[in-house]
């Protein structure tokens, strides 16, 4: 029986790609209103974990439930989730307005609120003037903002952001931090996958650390970051990395 007191319950989630174990019995619980960071080196399994939560990759688990609903029984809970992928998907032939219109209906937003919400989001993210233009002509920053707008179109209770700062200029990053802090104030549950410890410190209440597919740390931001910094200061693997011994000659 799924626990309805938590926004997300994951017990013993594992994923293999052939013989390689990408996620190894990961168990986490997210409470309502928490902002949680998921950190780890490249290849640690962060994106795979997020995809497994959303059913984009097949995984094995003892329990996987959102808002108390078992994933196995029903995936309708996804209509209350907002997901911003690391590389935001878009149809280059559509405009941002058309994208939001389709996504809102797909996520079951009542048609009466769609126009107002679409306009509010497009204005807030500075896309209103170009909202009729096709997305194939947008800059990377505009695409990221369109992606963020589609993430929020259903006013989701749970928001998953997969490396949202990746490829953004400093100003766009600052804007995104502002958006996350506003969502946090509104009591949304947020899971952010990030490499930036500064952002994690500024935005998150809790940190989960993945290493080689296993959850090695889970605790309050301040405590975990201290442990992470200590770990990296005494880190042997970095010294063993071949790139450190390269003298720049070809």
């Amino acid at each position: 029986m799924a626990n309805i007191d938590n926004c997300l319950n994951v017990k013993r989630l594992s994923k293999n790609y052939g013989a390689k174990k990408v996620l190894n019995d990961v168990s986490i619980t997210l409470n309502y209103g928490e902002t949680v960071a998921l950190i780890g080196a490249n290849g640690a399994g962060k994106s795979t974990f997020i995809k497994a939560l959303l059913g984009l990759v097949n995984s094995t688990y003892e329990e996987l439930s959102f808002f108390g609903q078992e994933h196995r029984l029903n995936q309708n809970y996804l209509k209350k989730v907002g997901y911003l992928p690391e590389v935001s998907g878009f149809w280059s032939e559509l405009s941002a307005q058309a994208l939001l219109s389709y996504m809102s209906r797909l996520k079951g937003v009542e048609s009466i609120v769609v126009p107002k919400r679409t306009k509010t989001l497009l204005q807030a993210f500075g896309l209103w003037k170009r909202s009729q233009g096709i997305m194939g002509s947008y800059s990377k920053g505009m695409l990221q903002r369109s992606g963020l707008a589609q993430t929020l179109i259903n006013d989701p209770d749970f928001i998953i952001l997969d490396e949202p700062m990746s490829g953004l200029d400093p100003r766009a990053q600052e804007n995104l931090r502002h958006v996350v802090s506003q969502l946090k104030k509104r009591g949304k549950t947020i899971l952010i996958s990030s490499h930036s410890l500064g952002d994690v410190q500024q935005l998150c209440d809790r940190v989960l650390v993945l290493e080689n597919g296993s959850l090695i740390l889970d605790g309050k931001t301040k405590d975990v970051l201290v442990q992470v910094q200590q770990k990296y200061q005494n880190n042997e693997p970095w010294d063993e990395d071949p790139i450190v011994t390269w003298n720049g000659q070809l």
Binding site: L56, L78, P85, S88, F90, L94, L106, K107, G108
Partner: protein
């Protein structure tokens, strides 16, 4: 679980995306060009002008639409997964079955509408030619072509889920030619003992028998069987062929879904 509103929405999206591509306009241009050529060729003949026109016109519509439908159906999956829009849709609570069904429907409906539109244009051309032609056989031939497009749309998705889109497209083209050639195959393997010639292929008759029964019956839907435009097919047979085509499309859909559900995106 089937969600009708998701299916309607995504079918509309697929149709809108296809219409916004230049492919539709380009193929309309190609069809118009061939219709004009058909018209000119038919005016050069002294025999049945109408038959000559419709032979060329229907043949060109058939080739262009089969090519176009095969291309569209084999491209969608790879495009949607490479530009991550598939992730966007599936992470919004739409099931994989609904995504697959709506995209097959989107490609099929657009293709069917193109056939209807192009046939209407050809119809306008034929009024300018001398003689008359019964329209029933032409309508029936185009209905059979639309049934074939239903099979091709689903087969394109099946192949593109199992392999790369370019390989899927090439394979689908081979499959189309092969399945339209079952009569030819039968000729090769038939035991020709009529007229005193006994061929050694008779032992392979069982192959043709099973191939003809196991694969989608594209040969049954072949326009060339009806180009005489003399004998109308019974409407009950048309209904029967629709049932067979729908059955095949469903079998192919389930085979695609079986693989698609196991895939990591």
């Amino acid at each position: 679980m089937v969600n009708i509103s998701d299916i309607v929405l995504l079918t509309r999206l697929r149709m809108q995306l296809i219409l916004k591509q230049r492919l539709g306009l380009m193929s309309l241009g190609v069809v118009l060009f061939f219709l004009i050529v058909s018209y000119i060729l038919s005016t050069l003949t002294f025999v049945n002008v109408q038959k000559m026109f419709w032979d060329f016109a229907l043949g060109c519509i058939f080739i262009v639409i089969v090519f176009l439908t095969s291309y569209m159906s084999t491209q969608v999956f790879s495009e949607e997964s490479s530009n991550k829009t598939l992730h966007l849709v599936l992470s919004s609570g739409c099931s994989r079955a609904n995504w697959l069904l709506s995209n097959i429907l989107g490609v099929f409906i657009i293709s069917a509408l193109m056939v209807i539109f192009w046939t209407l244009i050809a119809w306008c051309f034929h009024y300018a030619l001398p003689g008359s032609q019964s329209g029933v056989m032409i309508i029936q031939a185009q209905i059979l072509l639309i049934f074939e497009l239903l099979i091709l749309s689903s087969l394109g998705f099946l192949l593109s889920i199992y392999t790369r889109s370019i390989v899927a497209f090439a394979s689908l083209m081979v499959v189309v030619v092969f399945l339209h050639s079952l009569d030819g195959l039968e000729m090769v393997f038939r035991d020709h003992n009529v007229g005193g010639v006994v061929e050694s292929h008779g032992q392979y008759n069982f192959l043709v028998f099973w191939i003809a029964r196991l694969f989608p019956p594209l040969a049954w839907l072949d326009v060339k069987s009806f180009v005489g435009y003399e004998t109308q097919i019974k409407w009950l047979s048309v209904l029967g062929l629709f049932a067979v085509s729908l059955g095949w499309a469903m079998v192919i859909f389930w085979a695609s879904l079986f693989k698609f559900k196991k895939m990591d995106l």
